[in-house]
Amino acid sequence: MKSCVIVFPASNCDRDAAVALEAIGASPSMVWHGDTDLPSTDLIVLPGGFSYGDYLRAGAMAARAPIMRDVLKRARSGTPVLGICNGFQILTEAGLLPGALMRNDGLKFICKSVTLEVTNSATLFTRNYEEGQTIRLPVAHHDGNYYADEHTLDFLEGEGRVVFRYVRNPNGSARDIAGIVNKTGKILGMMPHPERSIDPVLNGLDGKALFQSILETLI
């Protein structure tokens, strides 16, 4: 499987994402935000971090970086995209996923391990989980409070596009949403960090299963 990780200025989970991909044998190419063409790839990862310092709005400027034109093109033609944390924010700002990530309702940055319910195990990202399974992943964000209008939320739920829900909502997200996919199920945005849960010495292996799902689907 060929993969790539986009590096924006002040991305800071780019290495972690690369390590997770290496752990499943899919060593990624690191692609600079100022480039205009992606290499040939089966998976695009938008990593966590503080692209452009979160200035203006988290993800707003990164969504307009030169490389994003090709990311949008590939995404629309079916290349899977995984956006983690800041990557999720970028995906909403780029219009690839609906809704927005607002400031946490407690107004503070929050970093802790949370329990998630897998609410759709039929996506290419989640096939290694059972439907209804609970998993533990770390969150680390200031703006993870998912918002969309009621109609959109109903629509997302109706189509099974809510993939992960918080069991105890840490940030005020609408309907406890932690991760959603686009209509085709090939673009996933999630606030929790699966790439920080790929090692039993650290935060367990719950995140590794997500990367393995991708690998097994795409191989």
Binding site: A10, I110, R196
Partner: protein, 734 residues
Amino acid sequence: MTAFAKGITAAIVAEHGLTQDEYDQILKRMGRPPNFTELGIFSVMWSEHCSYKSSRRWLKDLPTTGPQVICGPGENAGIVDIGDGQAAVFKMESHNHPSFIEPYQGAATGVGGIMRDVFTMGARPVANMNALRFGDPAHEKTRHLVSGVVAGIGGYGNCMGVPTVGGETNFHSSYNGNILVNAMTVGIVDRGKIFYSAAKGVGNPVVYVGSKTGRDGIHGATMASAEFDNDSDEKRPTVQVGDPFTEKLLLEACLELMASDAIIAIQDMGAAGLTSSAVEMADKGEVGITLDLDEVPCRETGMQPYEMMLSESQERMLMVLKPGKEDAARAIFDKWGLDFAVIGITTDTGRLTLTFQGAVVADIPIEGLTQDAPVYDRPWTPTPKPAPLKISDCPPPEDMGAALLSLMGSPDLTSRRWIWEQYDQSVMGDTVEGPGGDAALIRIHGSAKALAITTDVTPRYCKADPFEGGKQAVAETWRNLTAVGAIPLAMTDCLNFGNPERPEIMGQFVECLKGMGESGRALGFPIVSGNVSLYNETNGEAILPTPAIGGVGVIEDLGHRAHIGLERAGDVLLLIGETIGHLGQSLYARTFHNIEAGAPPPVNLSAERRHGDFVRAAITQGLTTCVHDISDGGLYVTVAEMALAGAIGADIKAPEDHMHGFLFGVDQARYIVAVRPDQEGKILTQAGDAGIPALKLGHVGGQALSVNGKQAVALGALREVHENWFPATMSIRT
């Protein structure tokens, strides 16, 4: 009659924090009156913050060497060998004065500054820690300061993508007017890729990179060298504003350039900005330096030489490159969107020469700013040894369980979860143990090794007996590293004290350092970097003497480490070390009897070393994976912390005679170790053979804590008081 340059008066000299004697020295060194720019440069370089003029005489007596030390004090950070061709680079630094005036930016730029100190030496920062002291929780400013400082630390470190993995937070009324914000960064570097600040060689380009220079932070170093009064809020403009986004880019750009061989010397522009970086690099390289200030990237127009030289704008670095490497270096900084300007050249004049708009605007011998800076052997008086606390002044509580609940819910012992959840602890994917244990553990990327990191000091002990308090701070840091199974390597210190011009304060400083030195020598635990913060006083009220110690150790194999959480019902608790029941300066005495009196617990350094080496060996041999050192609060608090971390209870045996001394006393050099029942005999025999005091303390199991099977406290109730204090206190609306 004192001579002044045009426009300078005695009052202006005084406003620069220079005494008459110091000004006379400057006249003598210059051979003429300094102009305004030169006066500003002298004032920052001779400030306490930059010159260490009150402390230097005592700092040189500290132990700073050892086979593991690659670089001791005097550089941007200290460096120790961690094996396999790698080294740990670390330092702790204060940002007290700015954080009191503007807590968010003060704390944020403190974190930014210490990270620059580490990556300027070529290391990638892998962990941040912080040691915080606030005033009485009930004081009107405390919650505002806690909230701002914590958000500032998180705001900067989180954006940088460096995990903040622990530290300590205390409350005491002596910090009401002077909080302490001490930030520590640890980085890892390949031994062959370490960069230093000596600008060796003449004719080499001096390069400015990073953010532009603005008018913020002018005279920050001078502010940090004076006491506060009621008008300290007016000093807000001297506080710098941080931009972690730019620093992240600066980090990556510097490390990218450092992969080549372009750099001769590099230093961050911290306190006293362009002045101190240029002067210190030239001084260490034994060269002169000429800067063309027209080339300095400025944020606003019309900036004068004085402002450029004294600005403390953040996220800037000064480098000396090999000639001809400028274009390759510029390309890297262009890629990262950062300013890059050749602003000067190294010379053979031994002078700092500044030109601006075609004229020489300052011309000072470098040595005049550095080696000729005043050094004071300030008068000091020893702190009278306190009488031991009379046991009759500190009677037992009615119920040991109720006493434990009160202690576990007291400000100094409650859970700091409210704080650390605002810090990204797990970015970089190597945080094996985050906050809450004896020491944080950061895996060395791509290996099975780890660095153990901790910070410690008990300021009450230092106030009561500075010598014993200084000893204890170092010993406890060493003990914390030992308790996770690490070999302690070295420490950094952040020496926070009041006004050194008062002999009793100077006495606290001198004796704390003597104690620290004695511990460091006895434990083979040198000090490789540090920082001194004096004048922590408001309206003549000094803080408790607070020599914060940051310690770093190494674990060779993560398979052999210990954590504090109890693991299994049926395990046996062992107590290593001697328990007398010392209650002087204990949190028990303070919490229950409102007594902050008596002598602090003495530290027997030979016992400390033997007990620690024994516990570490037990961890390394795989006899135990659950250890906690006994510190503030005493034995019962230690067991409670282990129970909460593991979500399993315990019953312990305590003598009926002087039971509260046994449970809440703060005797040193002690650990609680949990082992499987089949290991109990082995470890007790080993202890007996080695002459280490060890006894069976109790059993693990159940969902409560009890003493001799009585006075049980449910873990649920314990957890509630332990976890609730911080969020409840911080959410009070007034």
